[in-house]
Symmetry: C2
Subunit: 263 residues, 2 copies
Amino acid sequence: MTESIPQALIVLAHPEPRSFNAQLAATATDALEAIGYEVVCSDLYGQGFDPVEAPRHYTSRSDENWFRPQTEQRYASDTQTLPPDVESEIKRLRSADLVIFQYPLWWYGPPAMLKGWFDRVFVYGELYRSKIRYDTGVFRGKRALLSVTAGAPAATYELNGRNGDMDIVLWPVHFTLHYVGFSVLPPFVTFSVQGGISYTEESEMLAELEKSKAQFRDYLTRITDAKSVEPIRFNGWDDWDTEGRLRPGAEGHSPFVRKAAAR
Amino acid sequence: MTESIPQALIVLAHPEPRSFNAQLAATATDALEAIGYEVVCSDLYGQGFDPVEAPRHYTSRSDENWFRPQTEQRYASDTQTLPPDVESEIKRLRSADLVIFQYPLWWYGPPAMLKGWFDRVFVYGELYRSKIRYDTGVFRGKRALLSVTAGAPAATYELNGRNGDMDIVLWPVHFTLHYVGFSVLPPFVTFSVQGGISYTEESEMLAELEKSKAQFRDYLTRITDAKSVEPIRFNGWDDWDTEGRLRPGAEGHSPFVRKAAAR
């Protein structure tokens, strides 16, 4: 058996090439290369990725008169006519053992640039079908993690915090990754990053950036040790009844159910 | 005192002009006009709205060398150089007494087209500042509501459901609206809308559509009666301590805190 080189994909969504986020993506590249990964970066702004799911991406259509996104995604998958930019991202995902999403939290979610990457790249038929989802998803065995910057301080992202619990705020993207089968590692979150607004001195921001870089480097170094960084738990097919509700007695792993139970 | 005609804005985000979503937007227009509203629709796909926050939108910059979105938004607001497409949406928001967002739930959030509308149109400096947020927000006194279609059945969107509690799934957008001061009315959610995939017959989908239209019409007719449709409760400045956590004794209104307390 030949040992293959592990592959990582970093998906970066920030408009400024020198931003806090871009620098954390560069840090991740260095840290992963240092532990033997080959790293590819999908710099969505740099690539000029088009995040808008729309008819213009489909050269051949299942129904010319009524654009149903999922129907056309599946048709494009079946007929091997996926949009080239989507196909290229899917190829990167299929090659990756680890995927890192690096983005700022804007209005409690990913920037449109990344939201639309999910809308367009997670193609129905190609990356999920009715029985190929969750723990039977196409990317099972692969790992993913979010590295997110938030403008507000950590206290505001607690369960009782003004901005709401960070695990719950990140849940839509975490669950999307679980949906296509990824093992999702705990997120790396940097708080109080406001692109300069909140810093009285530029040097203060640079010091924070260096601190975050060091912490991120340390975190990524530890992910090779499965015992030191365990994936987030999700429910899977065995836990749900035919209606899609948790079976009686099944333990709920979504953050709201878990945190409700803990109180 | 002259009685002025109430104004409504419908923000529609779906790529197909004849979609379930587009038809619900048309239904809302009819229903609101029938009760005396003047209605304007921002059909984001129809307008070709660009949802990507990026340097290209800013003709004059606070910092030419480092693009910080919030910094440039505030500078554009201060210098009255907002991008024309953003300015036009803000003008519509300022005129509206009621704003309806009509969109399909894609990956547990709004399509990129609508996510980016929030990223770009909810301009720092113009629509919020440190002390002008939440219950002191610029749009206080105005009402907003989400009308959302979801592909999966209602049971999967319960607290113990596979897709997670709908109130929690919608919370990022609800809280964004509260952030700029809107009173947020309970959402109108249509489940099991899959753009044709799940229907064995086209007639089945059309019957569902007619049912949803009638329910939406009924709901919108009732919103003129404040007692029949009360806004969702949110916490405000008085509830939080200086760190941004709920004060001891303050009742938490976010859906996760509320549902955790109810168990």
